[in-house]
Symmetry: C2
Subunit: 245 residues, 2 copies
DNA sequence: CGCGTTTTTGAAGCCCCTCAAGTGTAGTGG
DNA sequence: CCACTACACTTGAGGGGCTTCAAAAACGCG
């Protein structure tokens, strides 16, 4: 499980301390709010098993999911600094969750700089993912948004060793995919159908099969740079934009 | 200027150290990339004067702005942890920018916990703003997106003392507003026209006038909770969603 | 004054939403 | 074993918000 915090190489001592901090766990049903918008931030959560999501409700009744949390993911540290939660977090499946109190977290980061560094790394990656979502929702059509989301989830599942041959768990309902992509459930259904007809994906019983991940990524216009590699450079199409110095 | 880092109350010593770190500044023209996607992260930037934005280009040529940087804003610390920038940062106006090297930043945070805390605070607020943008772009129509953006910029201008009576600087072009809201420049124009006709805003010569900020905020469905206050609670409309415990 | 950029306005069309109904699949309890 | 309920998923038809294409008017700067 803590292989995920293997962003910075953790030695055995660090790893064991981390594991110890996560030793007290609770089991939660699906569709339970771990914390709600407006609440005072409490303990930090760590997903050990199962999925969750960050989301915000609109007064008119719509919901927008802003992040998907998979096993190994954190619900950010240092939320303790803020006075109120600006969003809610809910389980999407039955889940096993570890809770780390603010005090203990503080001590953990103080005593183990490597762990602290790994934490900040995940924080920055989370932010990069948020930016990628903004781009996806703001500038891509529904087809590419859905393909992009599935590709991201696939890549993340891969990085935590959850791909079995060409299949992985995908517990999101079509409504949840829609809420993440900023479209309606009806339209999400049509897009998924199209992706299926094109032979890019197959979803059966909460299992996602992708015969050719590269093809899906290509169709999505996926750029795995935001989880980090080099990228094509070049000026903006309008010819503007010199580089500093 | 450093009043912005007055998130956590900084004493005079901290403030002077912070000011010292920002003492070496450079002047940059408008439309210059401070750093580009794919670059190795260099020094951290602090906006002293002028505006900038984070953005990502799409292969097809579109641009999505993911954040607006105003005087006092940072371009996140600890980017040094990441190997490559996942987005670019460009000035929107002529600007005065301070650069703080990774080493100096590290020392500053090490020696002054209060400053470090203020930095993390800004980091978390930035993330909250990203989430608010996702909600806006994903679930609101163009009218509300634009109104929401203007309200946010107004609120931020207010918090750094840049509101003069009922007017503030608003150097964004309509194309830039469109790139931030995920719409076209043509449509942004029509929305702005509508907001003007409704008497909510007036833009002249890069100056934004808002006679009744509360009315604009109401029209935008703006919830200043994400810069922190309490909020209406309640179950989700589908009746799901119990609270933990 | 002249040129590039920004803003403005019109017209046509498509992507996606809304409304609506119907199918499929579990789980529940008689 | 089979109603009965509750969701998740499907599919169709119609409409509207936003885009695309195009072109003209209004700035702003050297």
């Amino acid at each position: 499980m803590q292989k995920l915090s293997g962003y910075a190489p953790l030695d055995d001592v660090d790893a064991s301390h981390l594991a110890a901090a996560c030793s007290s766990t609770i089991d939660v049903r699906a569709d339970v709010d771990l914390i709600r918008e407006g609440d005072e931030p409490g303990p930090v959560f760590v997903m050990l098993e199962g999925w969750a999501c960050r989301y915000k409700m609109l007064p008119e009744g719509g919901r927008q999911i802003t992040a998907i949390l998979m096993p190994g993911d954190f619900c950010d540290m240092h939320v303790a600094i803020l006075d109120r939660m600006d969003h809610s977090i809910a389980t999407l499946t039955p889940a096993k969750v570890a809770r780390i109190g603010p005090r203990r977290l503080e001590a953990l980061m103080e005593d183990h700089p490597t762990i602290a560094r790994a934490f900040w790394w995940t924080q920055l990656v989370d932010e990069a993912v948020l930016r990628a979502w903004i781009v996806s929702i703001g500038r891509r059509d529904a087809y590419h948004r859905v393909a992009h989301l599935l590709t991201e989830l696939w890549a993340r599942a891969f990085s935590i060793g959850r791909i079995n041959a060409d299949t992985t768990e995908m517990p999101l309902t079509q409504t949840e995919i829609a809420d993440a992509c900023g479209i309606t459930a009806v339209h999400a259904n049509r897009i998924l159908k199209q992706l299926h007809e094109e032979g890019l994906i197959a979803i059966k019983k909460r299992l996602l099969t992708v015969a050719n991940p590269a093809a899906l990524a290509a169709a999505a216009g996926f750029d795995d740079n935001y989880l980090h590699r080099t990228l094509t450079r070049g000026r903006r199409p309008d010819g503007r934009g010199a580089v500093l110095r």
